[in-house]
């Protein structure tokens, strides 16, 4: 089945379209922020602090007089970076583990499964606490902590998808053709679980944005003078009762960001998983 037609089918899915548009806007803002922001985000301008919405500062200014919209762009970029790299860590380690477990079965699979269950007992925040205790807080810590928790997620999805494929007859045909299990995993299994993995990646990406916000909010993630959506909320908290907009804007950005990715993932899943789209099969 050509990728083109899958994408075309996905495009006819309303939530996929909304999600694609939203994700596109957020990713675009993040990319632009790397080369340009309306104002520099490292210039303190105390007289203009807590400015409200205006033509020059669309979303007002923060407690140091920095332009909120510029901060938001940079914050989106750093949140996205953390979430993306955490997904990369999870997928790069988890997917091979899951494929190996499905290909070998036996003791290797048992060990991988135990390991999976074990990692599930360490939510990102606990890994982040341990890492921070040892090395001090930073955005990289958050990324690694979230990434570790992503490993068993991807391993589980890859293994689950692969297990059902290994019983299929085309895999037997490949074995008869003398292909090794590693070759079969790469040629026949991975491409057929790719759609499941892509859907999971969008889900983990949105969870990663949420987790990064939480970690930065309690001081275990991104540190000043850098900024991220979670850190903006942390900084806004002290002034929250006086200037609630300081916290409402970055919070709304997180919500819209996460909704966009989730809608994208839902749309992809509905298009890629024929089981959920079937109307009535007889």
């Amino acid at each position: 089945m050509a990728e083109q037609s899958t994408f075309a089918r996905a495009l006819s899915h309303p939530s996929f379209r909304v999600g694609l548009l939203g994700s596109f806007i957020f990713i675009l803002l993040a990319l632009i922020s790397v080369v340009w922001t309306p104002y520099a985000t490292d210039i303190v301008d105390i007289p203009n602090r807590f400015g409200s919405f205006s033509a020059s500062n669309w979303l007002g200014t923060d407690y140091l007089g920095r332009d909120q919209f510029s901060l938001l762009m940079v914050g989106i970029a750093s949140s996205l970076k953390v979430a993306l790299l955490a997904v990369a860590i999870g997928a790069l380690v988890g997917v091979p583990l899951g494929l190996m477990a499905a290909a070998q079965r036996g003791w290797l699979e048992a060990i991988i499964l135990r390991f999976n269950d074990f990692i599930f007992a360490f939510p990102a925040i606990i890994s982040a606490i341990i890492i921070t205790t040892l090395f001090g807080p930073s955005a990289i810590n958050a990324m690694v902590a979230i990434g570790i928790f992503n490993i068993p997620v991807f391993a589980r999805v890859a293994r689950g998808g692969a297990l059902s494929l290994w019983t299929l007859e085309y895999v037997d045909a490949a074995k008869l053709s003398g292909l090794t299990s590693a070759q079969i995993s790469l040629r026949h299994i991975l491409p057929n679980v790719a759609s499941l993995l892509i859907v999971q990646a969008t889900i983990q990406l949105s969870l990663g944005v949420l987790a990064e916000a939480g970690l930065s909010y309690i001081g275990l993630g991104t540190q000043p003078p850098d900024t991220s959506l979670g850190l903006m909320l942390k900084e806004a908290q002290s002034f929250f009762f006086g200037f609630p907009m300081q916290a409402i804007i970055p919070g709304l950005a997180i919500v819209l960001f996460v909704i966009s990715f989730n809608l994208l993932g839902d749309g992809l899943r509905d298009t890629l998983d024929p089981k959920l789209t079937r109307v009535s099969t007889l």
Binding site: T132, T133, L233, G251
Partner: protein
């Protein structure tokens, strides 16, 4: 069922032991000299030597690990280096806040999430379903601590129904203590409820396509009788798995949300310990958190076996 539980208990014991070993390794062996690590670079050699003796660092790491482990069974986790109090006592105080918070949020999210999911599945494609799922979509995307801030703004600052933060010990004023936990519980529970509602709906919609529902209809049951008598129980199986995983996120959530409400829970104990480099408190607090997650997963496994006779017989949930 008993054989199944025994096997699981063995698994839990092994997992806990490995978790303890890893935590011990990371926070006691990896820093090299924990005494030097805790006191910082400027500490005098005498002070370091004194702390080394106090921590028992002259013994082998292996011995120290088992001393810690045996202490754990006896409820003796050592003396906090920064607060000069038994760690057990510190944690017991903090758990009085954290535990009701986590369990309250779990209960509330289940009570809200599951019924909404079931009703949405029954009315699939209708207006109520669409609305519920849009709401769930938003609920999933809301960071719980930000939601907590909005709740404070609305119910504590604007309408002054609940205290904006702080905590009175249960022994002083149980009613006030409970009141201070209402907003944090709601802040934690609603996003969780959104997730549960979605999972419940998806699972039930799936089960409604199952052949045995058709058998039940052919028997003469109406669609809603078939759903309630045969669908819901089957649909609960995947939901249980998710609830186990969600508990880990809830624990994380309590640590974060405590900060919004200035609640003296386990999370704030950990943060003050981190800044004081108090490894003794950090390692024990983390082990307690991990043990809670492992325990809940064990309970989920038991519940699974209780609902599903195939697992009772087979001795394990097939993963994936």
């Amino acid at each position: 069922m008993i054989g199944f539980a025994a096997k699981r208990i063995f698994g839990v014991a092994v997992t806990l032991l490995v978790a303890a070993a890893i935590i011990f390794f990371l926070l006691d062996i990896l820093p090299g000299d924990p005494a030097r690590f805790m006191l910082g670079i400027n500490a005098t050699d005498d002070a370091v030597a004194a702390l080394r003796t106090e921590l028992g660092l002259d013994q082998s790491a292996f011995n120290r690990f088992f001393i810690w482990l045996f202490g754990l069974f006896q409820g003796d986790l050592g003396i906090s280096f920064s607060q000069r109090m038994p760690v057990t006592q510190l944690m017991a105080e903090r758990l009085q806040v954290s535990l009701p918070l986590a369990l309250g949020a779990l209960t509330l999210s289940t009570l809200i999430g599951l019924p909404i999911g079931i009703i949405a599945a029954q009315n699939r494609g209708k207006l109520g379903d669409t609305l519920a799922m849009i709401l769930a979509q938003v609920g999933i995307a809301i960071p719980n601590f930000w939601f907590a801030m909005l709740l404070v703004l609305a119910f504590a600052v604007t309408w002054r129904i609940f205290p904006p933060g702080g905590f009175v010990p249960w022994s002083d004023d149980p009613l006030l203590a409970a009141r201070s936990l209402v907003l944090p519980i709601i802040a934690l529970a609603l996003p969780q409820a959104a997730i549960l509602a979605r999972v419940m709906r998806t699972s039930l919609v799936d089960v409604m396509q199952a052949d045995f529902i058709r058998t039940a209809r052919a028997k003469g049951l109406t669609q809603s009788q078939a759903i309630w008598r045969h669908g819901v129980r089957n649909a609960l199986l995947p939901v249980l798995t998710i609830m186990g995983l969600q508990f880990a996120f809830l624990i994380a959530g309590t640590i974060i949300v405590e900060n919004v409400f200035y609640l003296p829970g386990l999370g704030r104990l950990i943060f003050s310990a981190i800044s004081a480099r108090d490894l003794i408190v950090v390692r024990s607090a983390i082990l307690v958190l991990v043990a809670m997650v492992i325990l809940v997963m064990f309970i989920v496994d038991l519940a699974y076996a209780f609902v599903d006779p195939r697992i009772r017989a087979g001795g394990g949930r097939s993963d994936g």
